[in-house]
Amino acid sequence: MRSLIKSYIKAVSLLSRICGVFSTTLILLASVVVCQMVVMRYGLGESTVWQSEFIKYAIIAATLLGSPYVLLLRGHVSVDIIYNYISPAHAKYASIISSIIGLLCCTLIAWAGWLYFYEAWHEQWVTPTVWGPPLWIPLLPLPVGLFILTLQYLANIFIDHVIDPEELST
């Protein structure tokens, strides 16, 4: 059982890291497109159509796909006002409770995001713009990012309360 949990943690950590890499790539890509847009519009005097829309979607996707990686590093914003007032023993329960709430919220959003994605994919909707890419592409990062975030929440609960971090590295 413990070895199963350990391999789960390792697998999810890897998945979150892949998401992190993907998210970084999207930010880089968005930056390149911004530069391309500036050169096209002001340098060459050409018209730009798809760039602003692409950048918007890329940055939203980077945020959603980057979230599991941020949770892996525990880089997320956390409010510790309650933790400061309770004893360490109580803090342990508080952290389990907050992780479970986080996990439930993410599951819910991931599920709702999946329904939205599936509808857009099934109905072949496009975005109402001149470029008009299929709508499912910008919608996909929501269920994927939030699903992996859910997995990462579960992994964090295991790391905090079941498995010793040192045990994990061996």
């Binding site: 018209s47 829309e53 975005t127 008009g132």
Partner: protein, 339 residues
């Protein structure tokens, strides 16, 4: 000790609160159907579409047929672009919407902001009674909504980087135009595009995201775009920009109403539509006055200038529409047939 005292007070107060809430909900629900109407424009300052919906609400509420319709303006219920899906899913009962905002789901809607398709306000009214409009209504109904009132708004160009009269004037400017069909013509003329709902134009022009914008005369006024413009090309006699912005009811809501309630809604909506068509052409003059009072240069296209834009539109907007929509060619033919 302290703790148990708190609980002693807590339980009865929760119980009392529940009883009050229960009583209130019974009092509210007795025989009354509550309807929520959503739109994106500012409320209570005389925006024609807000006035239309408010007129319908007043008439329906005064009719004493067990309907209580409340208007939620300025995207207070749903964001402008989310209203369509909220409507067809029954999450909101009524909306007034620039229909082309939903063209990603129903490409036929692009015909309702096709440059140069509608020639003037009288023509818009005749189009509303034509076979073309029946086809559009059918698409709306199949999607899950009922059209209560038709409205066609004229609009123009505004810019803070020089007046837009000839197609060459737009080269190098970043603009938005409410829908892809119109924006394709602008791209054909050499413009850059940044798409957004009209509620975001003010901030976009202020921050330099947009140099120029197309929207309706009513929105130009309600969103106070004159504060961010230096030159306005008003619709005048040669307007290219006409947009269909109907008042629609969710199919779920419609089926829930009694025949009497449906009848009252229909009549109220017809009155609002009548009022709208009386006011529509005055809106353009009102907008010109407000813009020039604010120190904005106001110009109008000549027939030749408008025709040069139309020629670009026939090669871009129309061609792409024919390719994308199976019945596109026929839809446009039906609209052009209306004299």
């Amino acid at each position: 000790m302290h703790r148990s005292k708190g609980i002693n007070l807590l339980l009865p107060s929760i119980l009392i609160l529940l009883v009050i809430l229960l009583g209130l909900s019974f009092a509210r629900n007795e025989g009354t159907t509550f309807l929520r109407a959503s739109h994106q424009w500012p409320g209570g300052i005389g925006d024609i579409r807000d006035v239309m919906i408010q007129m319908i609400a007043d008439e329906v509420n005064d009719a004493n047929v067990g309907l209580d319709l409340r208007v939620y303006p300025a995207q207070s219920l749903f964001r402008a672009t989310d209203q369509w899906s909220a409507l067809v899913r029954g999450r909101v009962d009524m909306i007034a919407l620039p229909l082309d905002y939903a063209s990603g789901r129903h490409p036929e809607f692009n015909a309702t902001l096709m440059p140069g398709l509608v020639k003037n306000h009288a023509h818009a009214r005749r189009i509303s009674d034509s076979e073309f409009m029946t086809r559009i209504h059918n698409v709306i109904e199949e999607a899950g909504a009922v059209v209560l009132a038709d409205a066609w708004l004229a609009g123009g160009f505004t810019s803070n980087a020089g007046c837009i009269l000839e197609p060459e004037d737009i080269e190098g400017q970043v603009i938005r135009a409410a829908g892809p069909a119109f924006e394709r013509m602008l791209v054909g003329a050499g413009a850059s595009i940044s798409s957004m709902p009209s509620s975001e134009i003010y901030t976009a022009m202020q921050t330099g995201v947009l140099d120029a914008a197309n929207t309706s005369s009513a929105s130009f006024m309600s969103y106070r775009i004159f504060e961010q413009s230096t030159c306005m090309t008003s619709p005048g006699d040669n307007a290219l920009w006409f947009m269909y912005e109907p008042v629609m009811l969710s199919r779920f809501t419609w089926d829930r109403l009694t025949e009497e309630q449906q009848q009252v809604l229909r009549v109220a909506a017809e009155n609002a539509e009548e009022y709208f068509f009386e006011q529509a052409s005055l809106l353009d003059l009102e907008m010109e006055r407000i813009f020039s009072d604010a120190g904005v240069e106001v110009v109008q296209m000549t027939a030749e200038q408008a025709n040069r834009w139309r020629d670009i539109a026939f090669e871009t907007s129309y061609e792409i529409f024919y390719d994308e929509v199976e019945s596109g060619r026929e839809l446009v033919r039906l609209a052009l047939e209306v004299e």
